[in-house]
Symmetry: D3
Subunit: 238 residues, 6 copies
Amino acid sequence: MALSDQTRGKLAAVSTATLCTALFKRGLRNQFIQNVRPLGVKGGNMVGPAFTLRYIPAREDLNPLSVFLDRAHPQRKAVEECPPGAVFVVDSRKDARAASAGSILVSRLMMRGVAGIVTDGGFRDSPEIAQLAIPAYHQRPSAPTNLTAHQAIEINGPIGCGDAPVFPGDIMVGDGEGVVVIPAHLADEIAEEATEMTAFEDFVTEKVLEGRSILGLYPPTDEQSQTDFAAWRRQNGR
Amino acid sequence: MALSDQTRGKLAAVSTATLCTALFKRGLRNQFIQNVRPLGVKGGNMVGPAFTLRYIPAREDLNPLSVFLDRAHPQRKAVEECPPGAVFVVDSRKDARAASAGSILVSRLMMRGVAGIVTDGGFRDSPEIAQLAIPAYHQRPSAPTNLTAHQAIEINGPIGCGDAPVFPGDIMVGDGEGVVVIPAHLADEIAEEATEMTAFEDFVTEKVLEGRSILGLYPPTDEQSQTDFAAWRRQNGR
Amino acid sequence: MALSDQTRGKLAAVSTATLCTALFKRGLRNQFIQNVRPLGVKGGNMVGPAFTLRYIPAREDLNPLSVFLDRAHPQRKAVEECPPGAVFVVDSRKDARAASAGSILVSRLMMRGVAGIVTDGGFRDSPEIAQLAIPAYHQRPSAPTNLTAHQAIEINGPIGCGDAPVFPGDIMVGDGEGVVVIPAHLADEIAEEATEMTAFEDFVTEKVLEGRSILGLYPPTDEQSQTDFAAWRRQNGR
Amino acid sequence: MALSDQTRGKLAAVSTATLCTALFKRGLRNQFIQNVRPLGVKGGNMVGPAFTLRYIPAREDLNPLSVFLDRAHPQRKAVEECPPGAVFVVDSRKDARAASAGSILVSRLMMRGVAGIVTDGGFRDSPEIAQLAIPAYHQRPSAPTNLTAHQAIEINGPIGCGDAPVFPGDIMVGDGEGVVVIPAHLADEIAEEATEMTAFEDFVTEKVLEGRSILGLYPPTDEQSQTDFAAWRRQNGR
Amino acid sequence: MALSDQTRGKLAAVSTATLCTALFKRGLRNQFIQNVRPLGVKGGNMVGPAFTLRYIPAREDLNPLSVFLDRAHPQRKAVEECPPGAVFVVDSRKDARAASAGSILVSRLMMRGVAGIVTDGGFRDSPEIAQLAIPAYHQRPSAPTNLTAHQAIEINGPIGCGDAPVFPGDIMVGDGEGVVVIPAHLADEIAEEATEMTAFEDFVTEKVLEGRSILGLYPPTDEQSQTDFAAWRRQNGR
Amino acid sequence: MALSDQTRGKLAAVSTATLCTALFKRGLRNQFIQNVRPLGVKGGNMVGPAFTLRYIPAREDLNPLSVFLDRAHPQRKAVEECPPGAVFVVDSRKDARAASAGSILVSRLMMRGVAGIVTDGGFRDSPEIAQLAIPAYHQRPSAPTNLTAHQAIEINGPIGCGDAPVFPGDIMVGDGEGVVVIPAHLADEIAEEATEMTAFEDFVTEKVLEGRSILGLYPPTDEQSQTDFAAWRRQNGR
């Protein structure tokens, strides 16, 4: 189920908050990745299908630095295989005591056209990553090499990330607030619905900033609110 | 016990750190709201009497989105009833897995002249709230709608917020560091005392930045320090 | 074992991430101070030997404000005794419910030429400290006076800080990411090795940003990578 | 909505696990009180409608020992007012650093015919409480008097307890595992359904202990399983 | 690499503490499963190769109760496929808010000859499991059905459990203290070494209980200690 | 300030809960060691002056198993030096990921006449320690050798233990609930006061179990309660 350009475009223009509400309406309450934040301010939303990497706790004898001499090491392999336009999502078991990745790998993802990277652990070289033109989300900075605590074990399987379930191909959307996981089969309808909701929220925000009460407006239980919104849509072409 | 303009003015010009020390002198050790931070940089202090809202864990059958169709829903009602000049304080049980409020409600509070908002949970639309001209404090951003985890249950009763007790009418003061709760009956004397302490701390800071040792100066156990401070006050009109 | 200017200079030019990897190679996995972050952006690295202060939980009868009337109070004494060029490291038992120090003490450390300050608790007056020209690292802002939760008990003994062991004289290095502890006897060789690693990482970063794959390059298992790096070093004089 | 003897009887004979599944079927996922355990082994289930007490963080000036001289102090008042047959449920904000209650109050509840007591904090005199003939559930033992951290503020309002919502009158059921909260209006049907489920689970357990596979048996997707269960019911009169 | 009867026998007679020390000697510091404890007291050690099950956070639409109608559901399938003599190890992401399994599944494992079960989450029906003749280890009791928080996603892959890495076939040993994970290839030598260490520790314990100092005895730096141990071994046939 | 036999005797006959209340009256709110519990049931109270050992995080190169070949290693030295009748208190920074001590050292302490042992971390060989005739308190069992996470660094200095301050010579009292720290200079008066309080609490308990209300009785604001208590004391010789 490919992510259409149309849906990608819609998801680039709505907030994770609005998407969470659309998911909530469908009974999905745990799709927001808990306790991750963006590194740097990078303009638009991060949007793309999930490509996952899973870590387990590192066993010392299996994780000397020399493991990276192996081109097939899952962490490095995953970085080279993640499709352009996808979001690289790492299950670090919410453990930020060692890094999930550093600036060189994130730079490589950026150069390969990857849409963003998320970990529920931490990045090293975080000041550099904050400057790169690729959205990146983590829990907190963490300088120790990932081998200190993490062994990359599986590429593109289902994972947990920040207490949210992530299946490969689920649509990840990130903004200045955080990251939400949209089940792949719902992406189109959620994108459409969130676009509609955003129009209404923008209308409400405008009215509230003009001084109107939220009662009867948000939600629009007053008929006047609905009339006004219809007029606003015509006026603003939305 | 109304908050006088004079006390409000004094509290606008002192730090939460100084206020905590004044409270400590009176045996009050837990009046700083733990683990909340300001969204955005907004100039002066937040000052105002507490108006509270309490959440309990949300039971799913009582918290569909349709509850907001009810104009009497406590969250919406509280937003419309919070007095201008007051600080809206939310007991979210330190749970930031879902939002305590979003930008539309915070905008409405701002338009109504409310002095600020504090939650020990998280806000959604946090990038927008960071831009609004109303002080706001939370634990971390949280996109899920509050119904996911919180049910608004009581308006303006005594609550806990970030491990601090908050009674309606207590005076809330927030700066770039966080938020402190001053028991209502102590507000005037604490404001006065903190103003005096601030003069002394400003004097000390000036001297320290000139190279003086803190020994004998902070606290001013050397008589010279007291003489110098007296002179400094005359010179600076404080 | 004094910190030579040469080693200090090298450590000023490498990242904590690189240093952690050099330490990892020697079997040292817990030298990164967990969960502290810099206040403000202050340019170069913090580098210096550790001078420590240890807190234990405050017993109320031993910690009234009047303790500071004693010039020999360990917190104040430590601030005046910390050698210029050293880093002041505070064991606050990871407890940020009260402050480890405030802006006046940090200003004094700055004026005395101290290289930086680190606590695994929190600072008060954190907005002011963020503006001072001395690197400072903590967990989160905390307005309550340190006497609320901390009693200064020992100067310059071995401590824990953010789950890392710190012995007086260990070399502390801080950057935009956090702080690492280098055992004193390893400082010279780690500084040298990290300098070499940094040259290589800069080369790799350049190549990655030109579009090269990390496979065979990082680590340089392809002979071509090694040849290219040798050329790059000659060209860049590193 | 009174708790009928019939429903009380049924709830005394089923497990909290089974009740949680019955609630799950109705979309209620957070009715198990997290992280509390029984003190002592006391035979049958605890069953009764919730009578609640809410604590907020204690402000020192409002909580000297002398507050108990007031007969109207909410903690003491609640203990004397809790109806026989009810379960006394305390919202301690999951804070076990000071006690929610001690053996004297729990003894009084027992003598008054109260069905049990639950706190998401801790009890003092826990070894004594473990010996009393009244079910009691807490997080962990805690010797400090409740005034150290808790101020009793409200009797019989809606609360949170261990991340579960508790409304006065909700039916509390506790067994050797923990405590579940059944919304009052569902008590009869949940009790009935859980009784049926328990019969089936007892049948399944018997068969499993005879060596049968769970496939086709649990759930009974094999027709034979359903036939066997029908026979078992007749045979066992359930 | 099968677990020989001889090694199984040795591991049944040593403690997890001794095994951890033998692993520590080989540089393996994280093989003890953190924060799990045994349900009930069941005599001898649990010993067997790991057979694993991995959970991810449950997405509501994928986890209605009806999923168990599918005989191929991974949780049920795993229970029927786990080899006799193996230990069933569950990665529950240290989340005990819902159950990892209940008494019926654990009974089935017992009947199938499985050697034990471990989860870093919690069991439901924990009082019943405590009575079953199969060792079981968890974090704490948890009545909610596993579908509330967990989706079984993978059988017998590498996992994390209580911050320890577990590869299928690793040898799990549990005693009254907890559970340790021995890498498969080290099982024979660790079992042998731990048997030797246990003989020495039993000797030391005997001497200490006779009043001897630990200095020179533990470790046996006094020649006399070594002589005495040699005599003790002859005398006790160990 | 030696602990008199008389005071020791009194402290053996009162509960930690009562002692916490006596300390609370003097403004001491943090003297209960948080989150430790007794291993096994061992009859009377643990009473004795504190003898302390402090751990810092272990640096790998300083903590191979061979450190125990040194008779002067602080952990072993402390075990041999702790005075008979004292309580051995360990500051493990609340970290139970590795052991604070094991059964051999605890046996040696027992044989030397030490009154008990407390750590805010965990013990290894905990099932054996539970059987020894010496009170022992910890957070949870932990099989890994202490060198995995802890380096013994200081004998008999001031420490923190479970968030409580402990000075050498402070009087430690433990019962089935936990452990409280009495400042040395208060031991006699607290012991006396707690003895009186215990008499009253025993009287109250008796009356409550006879069916009397707590109002007017606890505290004894009814004159009748005071009369009855006086009679009870005469009758019971207390």
